[in-house]
């Protein structure tokens, strides 16, 4: 309630200018202001609404007071009361000739209705008339109302008039008309609905050239929306946008567009957003806009929020478009100011921008570790959450424990469901990808279940079960103990709660812990059933805990009860069968609570449970209970066969499966039916062949429709699934890595003949002995990438020390000097922070150490990484050769003329080295057009030149952005990834044509199954293959392709996931086929057969 005095002042203030034209409305506001309670206020408003209802339904309605009525109605609606009775009146007032009544009515309508409302139909005619009005204010009002009230079904009625208004002499009208068209465009963004065939964007393009800056800026909004849907048709506008941005940032617009002395910042930011959308993944476009981006970034300053906003938008644009080292360096520099700022807002956007830069250059975060830690410990949850998001993006195997700890800490204190869900998802995701050990994974996931179980996906629970099942007995035992403790805790709390309520003391000292969610209970039931016999406590105690679940969860679902029954049965079977303590408890006759001695109270409860289930309404429960009893009463061998100990991971024997699949036991039945005159069974394809032509059978030649998300992820996941395997830190989880990989690769080769197996590469990777449960390792493991990318330059012996190595110690020192305030911290906290920082950001440091490992070992991870990079396309042979620890690849590169057989091995190494060098200079590739970024394969005899060229390029680009030498691999939503496969044919004297295939596979890049065979053949023919991440700025090495006329130039498989360019266009398809034929002629016997041979000839 405002004080009286204030109201008097307000009364004076509203003085002459704002005449009391609305006396009754003023009275209403005052009456409401004087209300002492919500109830009183409601009463006043109800009275008012009653009054309005009477007045409005009065046939002698005073039209001149229409505006006031409308305003009073709106006021009542703002206060949360329903005024729907008056909507129809508002429609009437909208056609009132008096402009102020009309405006008020339109305003009320836009407030009351939206385009879904049927009443809008009644308004269309008025709206059209008003849009054609001579009074430009009325036209504006109608156009604004149209942006709110016109839906997809009415667009066509209004559209022509709105287009006509684009030629209105008043710039206000033109501007509003554009906004109206912009709205229409949003209704049908892909132009395949009511606006099919309408050339909206032509109008937007025209209006971009309008002489009035306001109109131009309105058309920018509209164009931005179109470009977000599909940037391709708008690439030719890039010069216009850059020139507008240049002019704006040079202060060429009229002074009235300045905002706090910054030239038209709103227009600048809109343009930056448009450029980001246009430049994403398009190298040529990005180069065109680099200069103007630099200018915009330079001219903005952080003196005012608006300047920071421009800088922030510049940084976002820079990290979205095709990476440019200079721009990235400038961006990194400018966000340093944000992160140092005392303002939370600036730090927030700084963290956000840093996450974008880190995706391209993982070393960037290390410089700001203190600032990041500050944000992590900030009391502001929003900031903390943003920082966690940053950490999530820079998680790798060596810092996952710290980061997950932080996330769990936040999870336990956070109450917002939406955020909790997000964190749970992230923790599960990270745990799957980087878990250092199975035991850690089990404890972490169980903890997640405890803290945020309601948000855990059931799939995660399955994965957890799967993982536990795969491990050995010690882990089984520890999982059993962990879960028993969990149940202990829960039942203790439950009994405490019961006791508290029973005594009605009401003085609960601590909140009762939440009940465990059902998903984890199912997992617990399964684990305790399967492995309960491993528990350290007696079987009866385990039984008691299991049955105790129902004491806490009185409303347990049938599903849980069923699982519980099965668990009890298994537990009984594993602990001595019917004669064991559990078995006895379970099959004891139900005697109405007399309590036999078999299992004490818990045994009685268990017997009760079985008895209840025997008589349950649920058929499934009944069946399970009967089965339990029958099994327990059967002989021990039967019981052991039905419920074997720890056999959940047993593989089925394929022969057995085949035998079962043939359904031999049905044959007698079938024979009888046939004898009885039934038609024999025809498989569906045979049926088709009988009716139609036989030509419909066979393989299809057309590319399959790309599935925009599913397959790319799967494909990308292969690239990385094996990465963890080779990361030295997680190698403990794999079997023998080298042989495993070879096996995996050979499995891949074996799987090659069937096209479908190519698109499902995960299977092969699994066979490589990697972790079985980790699905999508589609994000980069920086540790590995750092080691590979830095190892290569090291091996090349021409490159300055790895940037990360230098950066890590330096940055630590720098932070000490920077945070003078942190000196005031006690030594202990400081050292704690250091430790935390080291554990969080140690990635670059430890990455370096792995990189500086003996160079003999260095090529190994590089080669492996490359191999992992594309497990699908890798054929068998290189795998084994990479496993050979060799000397510095640089020597090999230089030492080319050694004749075979040694040469063969060197060539195996050589591409690896070359590719690794290229990867050293790799920058991130946002998804999108890759046509111009490719890596040339060094052709056979030219080999020494090309890699050397590559190295010198690396050296040359080093000053531009030293730290970009080692980014290795990009990640993040728009990050893409490029893998190159280089295959050189072994005998240079015979066939000098080298073959290189640069295969950029942006994250989620789609590989059509049709394209895959090329790789297969390539590897079959080329034999030795090196694979690597091809360099992004691929200028180097580009000299190679023209050298050999027969060389396989480049073949690009690129597809953008984000840009919707999922359907790749293959201009080279024809050529490829010709080459393929050539290749087949050359193909030597003894390589594995090409399944597509007959298709292509």
């Amino acid at each position: 309630m405002q004080s009286k005095l204030e109201k008097v002042v307000a009364g004076l203030k509203t003085g002459p200018r704002f005449l009391k034209e609305l006396r009754e409305f003023d009275n209403l506001v005052k009456a409401i202001g004087e209300c002492k309670s919500k109830a009183e206020e409601d009463r006043v408003i109800s009275q008012e609404l009653e009054l309005l209802k009477q007045r409005l339904s009065d046939p002698k309605l005073d039209k001149s007071r229409g505006k006031e009525y409308m305003i009073r109605l709106m006021y009542c609606e703002i206060l949360g009361h329903d005024a729907s009775f008056a909507y129809i009146k508002a429609l009437q007032f909208a056609s009132d000739p008096n402009i102020h009544t009309k405006k008020a009515a339109y305003l009320a309508l836009t407030q009351f209705l939206d385009y879904n409302d049927n009443l809008v139909l009644l308004l269309v005619n008025t709206l059209l008339l008003d849009m054609k009005s001579d009074n430009y204010l009325i036209v504006c009002t109608a156009l604004v109302a149209a942006t709110r009230l016109i839906g997809a079904d009415l667009v066509n009625a209004v559209y022509p008039v709105a287009v006509e208004r684009l030629r209105h002499p008043k710039e206000h009208v033109r501007k509003k008309a554009i906004m109206a068209l912009h709205w229409f465009g949003q209704l049908d963004p892909r132009r395949d609905g009511p606006l099919a065939g309408v050339e909206l964007d032509k109008h937007f393009r025209t209006m971009l050239c309008d002489k009035d800056p306001s109109v131009m800026s309105a058309s920018l909004c509209a164009l931005h929306d179109c470009i977000k849907v599909d940037p391709r048709p708008y690439k030719n506008l890039i010069p216009s946008f850059t020139s507008i941005l240049k002019q704006v940032s040079e202060h060429r617009l009229p002074k009235s567009y300045d905002y706090h002395r910054f030239p038209a910042p709103f227009i600048q930011i809109k343009l930056l957003k448009i450029l980001a959308a246009l430049g994403a993944g398009d190298r040529a476009a990005s180069e065109n806009m680099a200069a103007v981006l630099h200018q915009a970034l330079r001219r903005a300053s952080t003196s005012h929020t608006i300047g920071s906003a421009i800088i922030y938008e510049c940084v976002r644009t820079i990290t979205t478009i095709y990476p440019n080292p200079q721009l990235l360096a400038a961006a990194a520099e400018s966000i340093a100011t944000f992160l140092r700022s005392p303002s939370h807002n600036l730090r927030y956007v700084g963290i956000d921008a840093l996450a974008g830069i880190t995706a391209l250059n993982p070393a960037a975060a290390a410089e700001h570790q203190v600032a990041v830690l500050d944000c992590l410990e900030d009391p502001d949850d929003t900031l903390k959450l943003k920082t966690l998001e940053l950490l999530y993006k820079m998680t790798k195997a060596n810092n996952i424990q710290v980061i997950v700890d932080k996330m769990m800490g936040f999870l336990s204190s956070c109450t917002d469901e939406h955020i909790r869900k997000d964190i749970v998802r992230k923790v599960c995701d990270l745990a799957e990808r980087y878990a250092p050990s199975p035991a850690w994974f089990v404890t972490t996931i169980s903890e997640v279940f405890r803290l945020g179980g309601e948000h855990v996906d059931e799939a995660d629970a399955h994965r957890l079960v799967h993982l536990i099942a795969e491990q050995d007995a010690s882990l089984h035992a520890s999982a059993v103990e962990a879960y028993l403790e969990l149940l202990d805790g829960e039942s203790a709390v439950a009994s405490a709660t019961e006791a508290a309520t029973a005594t009605a003391s009401g003085t609960m000292t601590r909140l009762p812990r939440k009940k465990l969610p059902e998903t984890i209970l199912l997992v617990i039931c399964w684990v305790l059933g399967e492995f309960g016999h491993l528990a350290r406590r007696p079987a009866q105690a385990v039984l008691a805990r299991l049955v105790g679940i129902l004491n806490v969860h009185k409303a347990a679902s049938d599903r849980l009860r069923g699982c519980l029954l099965t668990a009890l049965a298994k537990l009984a079977a594993h602990t001595g069968g019917a004669t064991g303590p559990v078995g006895q408890a379970l099959i004891q006759p139900h005697d109405g609570g007399a309590g036999s001695a078999a299992g004490g109270a818990a045994g009685q409860d268990a017997a009760d449970l079985v008895h209840k289930c025997l008589n349950s309404q649920s058929l499934e429960l009944q069946q399970r209970a009967h089965e339990l009893q029958a099994l327990l009463r059967s002989t021990p061998p039967v019981l052991a066969a039905a419920m074997p100990v720890d056999a959940s991971c047993e593989e089925f024997n394929p022969q057995d499966l085949a035998a079962v699949a043939a359904l031999p036991f049905l044959e007698g039945h079938v024979a009888r039916a046939l004898a009885g005159g039934a038609a024999p069974y025809l498989p569906p394809e045979a049926r088709g062949g009988r009716t139609g032509d036989g030509g419909s059978k066979g393989l299809r030649f057309a590319a399959y429709e790309p599935a925009p998300y599913a397959i790319p992820l799967a494909a990308a996941s292969t690239s990385y699934a094996a990465t963890g395997t080779y990361d030295s830190r997680s190698s403990s989880m794999t079997g023998a890595s080298g042989p495993g990989l070879a096996a995996g690769a050979s499995a891949a080769a074996a799987g090659v003949p069937s096209a479908s197996s190519i698109t499902e590469p995960q299977l092969m990777v699994k066979s490589a002995g990697g972790r079985k449960w980790g699905p999508a390792q589609y994000e980069t493991d920086y540790g590995a990438s750092a080691s590979s990318s830095q190892a290569a330059p090291l091996a090349a012996a021409m490159v300055p020390p790895p940037p990360a190595a230098a950066a890590a110690p330096r940055s630590v020192g720098a932070h000490h000097s920077r945070t003078g305030s942190s000196a005031s911290l006690t030594g202990q906290t400081a050292s704690e922070r250091e430790r935390l920082a080291a554990s969080l950001f140690g990635g670059s440091g430890s990455g370096t150490t792995t990189a500086v490992r003996p160079t003999a070992a260095a090529p190994l991870p590089a080669g492996q990484r490359q191999l992992n990079g594309n497990a699908i396309a890798t054929a068998t042979r290189p795998a084994s050769s990479y496993a050979v620890p060799t000397a510095n690849p640089m020597d090999l590169l230089l030492d080319l003329d050694v004749p075979p057989p040694q040469q063969q091995q060197q060539q195996q190494q050589r591409p690896a080295g070359a590719a690794a060098i290229a990867s050293g200079n790799e920058a991130s590739q946002p998804a999108g057009n890759w046509m111009d970024s490719m890596m040339a394969a060094p052709a056979g005899p030219m080999l020494p030149a090309a890699p050397l060229g590559g190295i010198s390029q690396v050296g040359g680009s080093a000053p531009l952005g030293g730290s970009f030498l080692g980014p290795g691999v990009p990640n993040g939503p728009s990050g893409g990834m490029m893998y190159g496969i280089q295959a050189s044919r072994p005998p240079p004297q015979q066939q000098p044509g080298g073959m290189g295939i640069a295969m950029p596979a942006p994250m989620g890049g789609m590989m059509s199954s049709l394209q895959q065979p090329h790789f297969v053949q390539a590897s079959g023919l080329g034999g030795e293959m090196g694979m690597g991440m091809a360099g992004g700025p691929a200028g180097y090495g580009a000299a190679a392709p023209p050298v050999q006329p027969q060389a396989w130039q480049q073949q690009q498989l690129a597809a953008g996931m984000a840009s919707g360019m999922a359907a790749p266009i293959w201009p080279q398809q024809q050529q490829q086929q010709q080459r393929q034929q050539q290749q087949q002629q050359q193909q030597q016997a003894g390589r594995f057969a090409d399944p597509f041979e007959d298709l292509l000839s």
């Binding site: 006021y75 102020h100 008020a104 800056p213 800026s217 009235s256 910042p265 929020t305 906003a309």
Partner: protein, 156 residues
């Protein structure tokens, strides 16, 4: 894009609400009910952004009024803050030192001004001068209409 603009008092009373995305009356009430405590409970020094469901709330307090914008998660937070500020500057110039009561008694004028600044969830007029001129034109016309020269006004 901006999904909604809400002005609320320190007591949580809504003074102005403009919805650019489709929310029906129930949803509107729920949004207001959910975001009000979140924003009012924020200490002054924290950042002006809040994650709420899948949208981002950008708010700023001017005297006793909170200006709240709900924007897409990917939008530039700082520019939204500046849009709020520009709105306040325009209001201030129009009402000459604006206060909460101006907005209560003349809330329709505030809506008209907002309509000049934002259309369909996007900033459409970056120039304050142009907004003023336009609002002034409107006022003049309304004035004429009231003075009985409605025909003349419409003929303009």
């Amino acid at each position: 894009m901006i999904h909604f603009v809400i002005l609320m008092s320190r007591q949580g009373k809504v003074r102005l609400a403009k919805w650019y995305s489709t929310y029906n009356m129930k949803e509107r009430a729920r949004v207001v009910k959910e975001i009000t405590p979140m924003i009012l409970a924020r200490p002054l020094k924290l950042c002006n952004f809040l994650d709420w469901k899948n949208i981002k709330l950008i708010y700023k307090r001017y005297a006793s009024l909170y200006f709240v914008c709900g924007v897409d998660a990917g939008d530039n937070e700082l520019i939204t803050l500046e849009i709020i500020h520009e709105f306040v500057e325009v209001l201030d110039r129009y009402f000459q030192n604006v206060c909460e009561l101006d907005l209560i008694f003349n809330f329709h004028k505030a809506y008209y001004i907002l309509d000049e600044l934002l259309v369909a969830g996007e900033l459409q007029e970056p120039s304050k001068k142009a907004i003023h001129k336009h609002i002034q034109d409107q006022d003049d016309m309304v004035e004429k209409a009231k003075n009985g020269t409605a025909e003349e006004g419409q003929a303009k």
